[in-house]
């Protein structure tokens, strides 16, 4: 990553800087550039090491004495073993399923609610809004929430990973603010033309709100994908656990993956590379998806803050 790649050619008038702004000195630019690269490396370097180690062979890992910084050989053997059925495969599928259905459910509920509250002057919308917002100021507490989930018979079902965290009031407020600000006139005229609310939502409001919907979908999806705590208290069957919990067992608690200990003991697989591969499985979906939605983040973060 040279400075040039970042567009930091010192001394040249870029045209981006207004005339009154002094041109930075070469030294100043260099310091800034190096700092920026270091800051970015603080994020990227650990991820790089994890990825490279997960792709390294047992021999490379033994040679380097552990983590691999410079790739020497690339092998997918650890991924193949992990995804050939068994604990990690199952956990990955569980996480994918919970994330998919959870996000779908959360989005449906949130979009409907946001739209339902978006018409000025509709009946009861103020009290309902208060009921929603109040939940942002208090938490009922861990114990009573647990008791309610248990009392409803949701423990040991995947519903316990979805329902208690399905609605995020902040996300609803962001969606609502967006719905209210976009296409007022279009919505009005559609209503005058006799379109029903579902139709307006589906054919006018949602297509116009793609950006914010993408952001909120990502927020929900990341929330479900990253969650581990609810699974740790609501699920007792180890076979039901999602990826994050299995990762906790394998990496933080340093347990050996069930079914692979034979191959690890005989030196065919590296326990370290296995751990790294599990970590890559957990980070890959978000690392791939987040940048696509990135340019909309600001919109998603801020609209909710500006309008009630």
């Amino acid at each position: 990553m040279s400075l040039l790649a970042f567009g930091l050619k010192p001394g040249s008038r870029t045209g981006l800087r207004p005339a009154w702004d002094e041109e930075p000195t070469r030294a100043g630019l260099a310091v800034k550039g190096v700092t920026l690269v270091l800051v970015c490396l603080a994020v990227l370097f650990p991820v790089w090491v994890v990825v490279v180690t997960s792709l390294s062979s047992v021999r490379t890992i033994t040679d380097t004495g552990g983590l691999v910084v410079l790739p020497q050989d690339i092998t997918f053997v650890h991924y193949r073993e992990l995804l050939a059925g068994g604990q990690v495969t199952r956990a990955t599928l569980v996480s994918a399923g919970v994330t998919f259905f959870g996000t779908l459910f959360s989005m449906a509920v949130s979009i409907l609610c946001a739209y339902g509250l978006s018409r000025p002057g509709s009946i009861l919308h103020r009290p309902i809004l208060m009921v929603l917002i109040a939940t942002m100021f208090f938490g009922a507490g861990l114990i009573p929430t647990y008791l309610v989930v248990q009392g409803l018979g949701l423990t040991d079902t995947y519903l316990s990973l979805i329902l208690p965290s399905a609605v995020n009031v902040f996300n609803i407020l962001v969606l609502r603010a967006f719905f209210m600000s976009t296409a007022r006139e279009l919505v009005e005229s559609a209503r005058i033309d006799g379109a029903g609310d579902l139709r307006i939502l589906w054919q006018i409001v949602m297509p116009l709100s793609r950006a914010v919907i993408a952001v909120i979908t990502l927020f929900y999806a990341v929330g479900y994908w990253s969650a581990w705590f609810n699974a740790s208290i609501y699920l007792t069957d180890p076979d039901m656990l999602p990826l994050q919990n299995v990762m906790q067992q394998l990496v933080i608690k340093q347990q050996k993956p069930t079914g692979l200990s034979q191959a690890i003991n005989t030196g065919q697989l590296s326990p370290l590379a296995i751990q790294m591969a599990v970590m890559v499985l957990a980070l890959l979906p978000v690392a791939v998806l987040a940048p696509f939605v990135q340019r909309h983040f600001r919109q998603g973060m801020l609209t909710g803050a500006v309008k009630g």
Binding site: P18, F138, I143, L147, G223, A282, L283
Partner: protein
């Protein structure tokens, strides 16, 4: 929101972390302007009800979920005044109805519970450390990023810096473990040079700073968004006028950019203080065995430990109630201070 998985909020909200990240979503709470645009205020109630019934139906699912999982548990807090015994019945609701009442006994017990006060101390210590070490980082980072004029530089840097926000806490901690743990990269390099025994992850004395650095790595980049938005809203006329009057880069930062950030700063500070008792729950839960409870136990993990791990639901709920009440008082007080200082805070007066 007290509850562990609300990372979404953080995500959504978990700005400065579960606890902290939670702050950002909070940003959305500034509501309640009463711009009454009632389309037809004089339409009779019955007609409005009929007119808006579809809208009400649309709100219903979300409302039900909130009632069941946010409001009903509020009532569930009655177990704090009982000796709740989960084995009285298969179902928590029946068990609650059959458990004996003990009044305020659990609350009295708290006063001389050494572990409880230790959790309080740890919570406040971690809050103060994060306030001084974490809070300024996104501001500095935003000023720094803003000083780059090329949009592409900023976009690439932001994409990279946002990334860890989307990592789960399990992932963040495992990454730190691989870097700074006993078998991590730093230890590995040190070992090659003859130094043994480096392990930041199991050092109780360093633990409070460790979780702060984890928080910085995960969320400082994400916290930049709000500040960058505020910075880019500054009119370039201001800069130009200041430059004409001879203000250099640093003076412009001091006299233009920092004042522009004031409202956002006040808001985030209020949220941070309001969340003071909710620091680092998931993080600490994942790492408490490595460093022991003396260094790591905070109120939230104490509730978890006493209630879910040891089965003393009633006492844990009592601790949770005390925490919740003081948390609410903190939010309101922080808001009051913000108002007194002429800032908006989370909600308007």
């Amino acid at each position: 929101m007290a509850h562990g998985t609300t990372d979404t909020r953080g995500t959504a909200a978990s700005g400065p972390e579960a606890a902290a990240p939670r702050t950002e979503p909070g940003a959305g709470t500034r509501t309640g302007q009463s711009r009454r645009t009632d389309a037809a205020p004089r339409v009779p109630l019955r007609h409005r009800l009929r007119r808006d019934r579809v809208l009400l139906l649309m709100v219903l699912p979300a409302l039900l979920l909130l009632l069941v999982f946010n409001y009903v548990p509020l009532i569930g807090n009655v177990v704090a005044f009982q000796d709740y015994d989960p084995y009285l019945a298969d179902n928590a609701f029946q068990a609650i109805s059959q458990s004996p009442w003990v009044g305020f006994e659990h609350f009295r017990h708290m006063a001389d519970d050494r572990l409880f006060w230790q959790a309080v101390r740890n919570t406040l210590a971690i809050f103060l450390i994060q306030l001084t070490l974490f809070f300024p980082v996104p501001i500095l980072l935003a000023l720094f990023l803003h000083s780059f004029v090329r949009p592409r530089v900023r976009a690439v840097a932001q994409a990279i810096l946002y990334l860890p926000h989307f990592f789960s806490w399990v992932l963040v901690i495992t990454v730190f473990q691989q870097m700074f743990g006993g078998a991590g990269l730093v230890a590995q390099v040190l070992r090659d040079h003859g130094h043994e025994g480096f392990d930041l992850m199991t050092d109780p004395g360093f633990f409070k700073f460790l979780i702060t650095f984890e928080l910085i790595w995960k969320d400082a980049g994400w916290g930049v968004i709000v500040f960058l938005a505020a910075l880019s809203a500054i009119s370039s006329d201001l800069y130009e006028a200041a430059a004409m009057d001879g203000a250099g880069r640093w003076r412009r930062m001091w006299h233009i950019q920092l004042p522009a950030l004031r409202p956002v700063l006040a808001l985030l500070l209020v949220l941070q203080v309001g969340n003071a008792l909710t620091v680092g729950f998931e993080q600490i839960l994942l790492q408490r065995t490595a460093v022991g409870p003396t260094a790591s136990e905070v109120l939230d993990t104490y509730v978890w430990n006493v209630g879910l791990d040891n089965g003393n639901f009633s006492y844990a709920a009592a601790v949770g109630i005390v925490k919740g009440i003081f948390g609410l008082v903190l939010v309101l007080a922080a808001n009051k201070v913000a108002h007194l200082m002429g800032e908006q805070g989370v909600y308007k007066r």
